[in-house]
């Protein structure tokens, strides 16, 4: 039976090669795409899995129970809490305190082996030696036991060691950090895999923290929330039990702060229970499923369409005594066979596509599906389900043909039974293509909006650099010299600039209810910050050199005014360290960090004009003069800071490197890729379907031509059905796509427009019409006599 079916099936496939190629192309493309997306999602959901103690590693985080519109979770806690409270918990096997070297929100720190070749390197950390036992480091030089024990030492990742020492042995050699500290290399470890949430490029012992930063009593400070703490729980320890124990630990300091453990496995996709990219992955999974459904529907459509050509076979088999069940299982078997075949081909195709796909997502993390047994099992099961489900309908339709009718090869029963469901399937197919196309537009536009849209400040022609220096000179003379060049329009100095997130404090404001406090981010800025970034003052005025008392005053942003419920903000006060600071103006809201986050309340105060504050210099140049401006800026600053290392960059670099945006850029690429694939699959599917109808309508076309019908009327007759279904699909696709727009993560969304929907629909319509035209023209050009004598 199976051998027979198989034989018959293969011969049938070979008989109508074009049809078979179409059918297989569809399924193979569908599977390959599905496999790639599954791999991507699987990789994202199994971040950090290479750590031996993966399931026992946790980061201690903080939940801040306070007003909306501000970030409520913090990934860092205080060093004192870690050093004094957490160490006493019996459930904790190992604990490590970690702190950024420099400010990783800013650009990083310059490292150099010779003070000449400087490398600006982000993601360096001070860390306890225990961090090497919690996470799995593979040492190439030195070993984990000695690596972080010696003061003024440094452990490098392979990549950094190679860059600094040009591939030579690094162990025991010395290097400079910011041309100041001299550190000895005590170890080199293999670069941590790209799918690591915490991926230090180098580590410096926590022991040296005070010596290098000048921060003395950090271990007793319950107020400085910039320390990360990673813990390794004992086997069988209950994290919920630990959470319960530490829940109230901070109530003596801030009663609304609750520390908790967050497992390493969750840190990548969902670090804080909320505001995560999880929605993005759900959307991707949805898209992956849709693409597979799309190819399965194509397969079903083509199978049912093709079934009529197999009616004689059914008739004969029925007349020689094949039962309905036997025929039924034959068709399901065929479907399973072709699906498994397609899945195998899809795996090979996806395997071949891995380099291109890795390039697309800009991460070198996807490996062959054949090396991932877990994924193979998942894909295998989905293949069988797909094969079974897509064989089911054709099997039921085909196996129930009346044998007498089947032998006469009249497809009447099929027409009657199949037509409505077939319409449903074609409409579904159109809807999915249309939906995916519009969603790709939406994601594309949103990404564009995040990267290039109006952020509320002018991000076009700005250079910036963070200079860490021990000099304490004033910026004003440098600024004056810069402005003498016509290429330079403005220059400011500030603690932070947009897209480098400042810290803040919980403040009380005038008219606040008793006990009411809000976390306000505080930025210290020079007089020219507002003008350099083209910010707008909507009420009041900017800081001015003409009013010396402005040192005691502040600016706020619109969001702060809204949260403070101020009708007339100018002249109101905010309490900072027991002092009442008067508001002199309101800055129109701009996006200070990420389009992903809501705008938080901001307060701006004048910065002391001293380079020793290690702030950020921002220079606005004449549009189109970036090269000249860079040269001028470099010259001036090298002259001003001869002993320090720094590098001016375009602010676009900072915006593009914002994490959420980076994820979105990958999303955008994937969505566009999927839209193209889905359009390809639907076009091929439609091509097959219309090919089949055209063949069946050959006689009708012949007769119509004999009777003198024009090409146009033939075209209309044959395409009107499909066009109606396409229009119907708009009803499903549009609202669903709009739903996705609503559901997109991110606080700031681009204004959606109707033309995206119209354009998407027009593209699908054009493709459908082009496919139909190709077939109809071919059919209509055939000589009527050739078709008619075919009967």
């Amino acid at each position: 039976m199976i051998r027979q079916s198989l034989l018959f099936f293969v011969r049938n496939l070979l008989k109508d090669k074009l049809f078979s190629v179409i059918n297989l192309t569809n399924l193979v493309t569908g599977f390959a795409t599905f496999i790639l997306i599954s791999q991507f999602i699987d990789m994202e959901l199994n971040w950090d899995i290479h750590n031996t103690h993966y399931d026992r590693i946790y980061r201690v985080q903080l939940f801040q129970d306070q007003q909306e519109n501000i970030v409520q979770h913090s990934s860092s806690i205080t060093a004192a809490f870690s050093r004094h409270d957490l160490v006493n918990l019996p459930e904790i096997e190992k604990i490590a305190l970690v702190h950024d070297v420099g400010d990783n929100n800013k650009d990083g720190v310059f490292l150099s082996a010779d003070k000449k070749n400087q490398f600006l390197i982000r993601y360096g950390y001070y860390a306890d030696q225990s961090v090497l036992e919690i996470f799995s480091f593979h040492f190439l030089e030195g070993g984990p036991d000695k690596a972080l024990t010696v003061p003024n030492s440094i452990v490098l990742s392979k990549d950094i060691a190679d860059r600094l020492f040009r591939g030579e042995k690094a162990l025991g050699r010395q290097l400079y950090a910011e041309n100041k500290a001299l550190l000895t290399v005590t170890g080199v470890y293999s670069d941590l895999p790209e799918n690591s949430e915490w991926r230090p490029r180098y580590l410096i012992p926590m022991k040296s923290f005070t010596a290098l930063t000048g921060w003395k009593d950090y271990e007793d400070n319950y107020w400085a929330y910039s320390f990360h703490t990673y813990v390794l729980l004992k086997e069988n320890a209950d994290p919920a039990g630990v959470d319960a124990k530490i829940h109230d630990a901070l109530k003596d300091y801030r009663k609304e702060h609750y520390p908790y453990l967050r497992p390493l496995s969750k840190l990548h996709v969902n670090p804080y229970f909320e505001n995560s990219m999880l929605n993005g992955y759900t959307l991707l999974s949805f898209i992956a499923t849709l693409i597979l459904v799309l190819s399965a529907i194509n397969y079903i459509n083509l199978q049912v369409a093709n079934a009529t050509t197999r009616m004689r076979e059914i008739g004969i088999k029925k007349s020689v005594g094949f039962s309905k069940r036997q025929l039924w299982s034959q068709f399901v078997f065929e479907s399973l066979f072709i699906t498994v075949l397609a899945a195998l081909a899809g795996m090979i195709l996806s395997h071949l596509a891995i380099p291109a796909f890795n390039k697309l997502i800009e991460k070198d993390v996807i490996t062959s599906v054949f090396t991932q047994p877990r994924l193979l099992v998942i894909i295998g099961s989905i293949t069988l389900v797909t094969g079974f489900l897509s064989g089911l309908y054709p099997a039921v339709v085909i196996a129930s043909f009346n044998p007498v009718v089947a032998l006469k090869q009249k497809a009447t029963s099929e027409e009657k039974n199949g037509i409505t469901l077939k319409k449903v399937l074609v409409t579904t197919q159109f809807s999915i293509s249309l939906f995916l196309l519009i969603v790709s537009f939406i994601v594309y536009r949103q990404t564009w909006y995040m990267a290039k849209g109006d952020l509320g400040f002018n991000s076009g022609n700005l250079l910036y650099a963070n200079i860490i220096t021990s000099k304490s000179g004033s910026f004003d003379p440098i600024r004056q010299r810069l402005l003498e060049h016509p290429e330079i329009q403005d220059a400011s100095f500030s603690d932070y600039i947009p897209f480098i997130l400042p810290g803040g404090n919980e403040l009380i404001w005038e008219d606040a209810l008793p006990g009411e406090k809000v976390f306000v981010r505080i930025n210290l800025v020079s007089y020219d910050f507002v003008s350099a970034f083209n910010l707008k003052i909507i009420t009041g005025r900017n800081f001015s050199r003409e009013y010396p008392s402005d040192v005691e005053k502040c600016l706020v942003n619109e969001t702060a005014v809204r949260i403070f419920r101020w009708k007339d903000p100018v002249g109101k006060h905010i309490q900072v360290n027991d002092k009442q600071v008067e508001v002199i103006g309101v800055i129109k809201d701009y996006i200070p960090f990420s389009v992903h986050n809501p705008i938080e309340p901001f307060m701006y105060r004048l910065i002391k004009d001293s380079a020793s504050l290690n702030g950020v210099y921002a220079i606005r140049y004449l549009p189109g003069k970036e090269k000249e401006a860079s040269a001028i800026v470099k010259e001036e600053f090298v002259q001003a800071f001869p002993d320090d290392v720094f590098e001016f960059k375009h602010i676009g670099f900072l915006i593009q490197n914002e994490n959420a945006l980076k994820v979105w850029i990958v999303f955008k690429k994937m969505c566009v890729f999927f839209a193209v694939i889905s359009i390809l699959i639907s076009s091929v599917g439609l091509f097959g379907l219309i090919l089949f109808f055209a063949r069946r309508k050959m006689k009708e076309i012949g007769i119509r031509k004999v009777l003198g019908f024009s090409m146009r009327s033939l075209y209309f007759t044959m395409s009107s059905g499909f066009i109606k279904l396409l229009l119907l699909s708009v009803i499903f696709a549009w609202p669903l796509a709009y739903g996705i727009y609503k559901y997109l993560p991110g606080a700031h969304k681009y204004p959606i427009q109707i033309w995206e929907f119209l354009l998407g629909s027009a593209i699908v319509l054009m493709l459908a019409l082009a496919t139909i035209s190709f077939q109809i023209v071919k059919a209509a050009k055939t000589k009527p006599v050739d078709v008619l004598k075919d009967e």
Partner: protein, 231 residues
Amino acid sequence: MIRTNQLTKVFRTELIETTALRQVNFEVKKGEFVAIMGPSGCGKSTLLNILGLLDDANSGLYFFDGTEVSAFNENQRTQLRKGNIGFVFQSFNLIDELSVYENVELPLVALRIQGNARRKTVDEMLDRMHIGHRKDHFPRQLSGGQQQRVAIARAVITNPKLILADEPTGNLDSTNGEQVMQLLEQLNTEGTTIVMVTHSLHHADRAHRVVNLFDGHIVTERVEKIFSPLN
């Protein structure tokens, strides 16, 4: 062997109603060879399809081997058909994608007869039909006569009690038609009951009895040869 009582078949479409069979009473005894004749559209094929359980009547009774089967459902019909009834069609109805051997094998596959037994039966049948040398060929590589021999081989491979032949010689020249008739006669001599629809008076003469259908009625019955039941 088979007997119908007041068998009526009406084809309905939205606009018209065509009565193909009107209260037909028809009987075939075990081992008998009956020819059905009549003009186009008189209901011959419809009757044959109902006798073969490929179609059902609107009213009336149908006894197969003494069992009333007109109320049988699809499964019961399939079970009854399997191994009991063989069909021979005017247009042969061989499956183009299967070889001669595989076409003949088909009913045994439906009966789930496995391996050696199946192979042996098919080979014997092909030799008997003088078509063994063509067993790996495909239908389109055969002449019409050869194709019909394959179709007959397929019809009788399960040793059915009844063969229903719908104009088996209709698409054949006289030489090939004669060979097919000889085959049918031989099978009948060996005990198989045959009901054959034909347009050819000459071929109808080979039957024991000729039934003439007109407008859904049996109008005449003519006995060609005296048939004496074997048992």
